[in-house]
């Protein structure tokens, strides 16, 4: 559709608004925003005093070492088929990864939907299928749908390793005090599920202007324009700049299913540490499908790779290029840290684009 305002018009207005402003840092917390900001060269369209930084928005990057170690331990079990999204395959954990175990002959399968794991379980009735549930509110309802379907269909040889997380608590912890961040670009597809209203606290409690953003160059520039306008006028609001996909209250059906199967639990985020109530644990009535309940595993305590600053990058405190390993010991082909693994990781986006 032909839009009335061109990106060039928005860029011009952003430049006018930014004139005379101090250095402004805008954080986004979505891996797809990270990737697309680099892909579309958004930073290059902005004046020098507007800086974009990535926060803990890449699900692969924020998954703690212990969760990866648990996944590897489950793959080590006899008679297990392990199903996960492709992004997780090459996350290093010590000298191993899901991919290295696959190469060594273990049955690790890449799926493109949680429901694929149900079919794998059906096709392998004599084996245990374990699905690795990662991601935020966008993916968690899909894992809930998998567990619900397995329960309703009487599929008993399926379980889930849940490393799901919820975004608001992490934002509160990260941007609570003295973060140096001036505004937040809110994740569009998390907001599709939890609603634009779920980010009102950014303005109301954290006193930062915020805009829910879509993923095209036009959407991202429109959200930045909105944010700068609020900064210029001293307004504190969370504005939904992705109205075609985000409603005020979100997807109630998805939320209802999410909390039918999961309940809040404490979770460890790489870079941020443990955050109370920021994880999603499987409720007691579905405990049968909890892989940590079904298998007796003792994951190894693995340390970060020497020199890796992924934790600091995830908090927006360091840039990928600050890392001594960036582009040398750590590349997308041979990643040392998680931010170099997924296409949505900050380091991978910097390296490729």
């Amino acid at each position: 559709m032909q839009m009335r305002y061109r990106i060039e018009d928005i860029k011009k207005r952003i430049n006018e608004l930014a004139g005379g402003m101090e250095q402004i840092t805008v954080m986004e917390v979505c891996g797809t925003h990270t990737a697309n900001i680099h892909k579309y060269g958004i930073q290059e369209l902005l004046p020098d005093n507007i800086r974009l930084v990535s926060g803990p928005g890449c699900p692969v990057c924020v998954t703690d070492h212990k969760d990866i170690a648990a996944a590897l331990s489950l793959v080590d079990q006899e008679n297990v088929v392990f199903a996960c999204f492709g992004d997780m395959m090459r996350v290093p954990c010590g000298d191993r990864s899901l991919y290295s175990l696959y190469e060594s002959g273990k049955d690790v399968r890449v799926v493109t939907s949680a429901m694929d794991a149900l079919q794998i379980a059906r096709d392998n009735p004599d084996r245990q299928t374990v699905y690795f549930g990662i991601g935020f509110e966008t993916t968690a309802p899909q894992t809930a749908a998998l567990i619900e379907a397995a329960d309703e269909c009487g599929i008993r040889n399926l379980s889930v390793l849940s490393a799901h997380k919820t975004m608001p608590q992490a934002i509160r912890q990260l941007l609570g005090n003295g973060s140096g961040i001036d505004a937040l670009m809110c994740p569009g597809h998390v907001a599709t599920i939890i609603g634009a209203e779920a980010f009102d606290f950014v303005a109301d409690e954290l006193k930062l202007p915020a805009a829910v953003a879509g993923f095209e160059a036009y959407d991202i520039m429109a959200a930045l324009l909105c944010i700068l306008n609020m900064l210029k006028n001293g307004e504190l609001k969370c504005v939904n700049m992705y109205p075609r996909a985000v409603t005020r209250h979100g997807n109630k059906e998805a939320l209802s299913l999410l909390y039918k199967v999961f309940e809040p639990c404490d979770a460890v985020w790489r870079g941020l540490g443990e955050i109370g109530g920021s994880g999603l644990g499987i409720k007691s009535q579905y405990k049968y499908f909890d892989a940590m309940h079904r298998f007796d595993i003792r994951p190894a305590d693995i340390k970060e790779a020497a020199g890796c600053i992924c934790a600091s990058i995830l908090c927006g405190k360091s840039m990928p290029t600050d890392c001594v390993n960036f582009g040398r010991g750590c590349t997308p082909d041979r990643p040392l840290g998680p931010c170099m693994v997924s296409a949505e990781g900050s380091c991978a986006a910097y390296y490729k684009l």
Partner: protein, 77 residues
Amino acid sequence: MCLAVPGTITQILDGYAQVDYGGVSKQASTRLFKDAKVGDRVLVHAGFIIQILDKDYGYELEKLIGETMGFTNADEV
């Protein structure tokens, strides 16, 4: 991982919709959006319909941008 793709529903059967993405057609679960119907323009994420896209989106976003731009007429840009 939050990448979602817009498509159009061409058929619905047993909790799954056939979604056309400009020539490529794939199945998507309707479990997270049971009201979805044939002809709807939907957002699909990892095999699940997560939202029906607002057909008036262009107008709404333009309105929002226009308010921010401080203009009411495109000629003033």
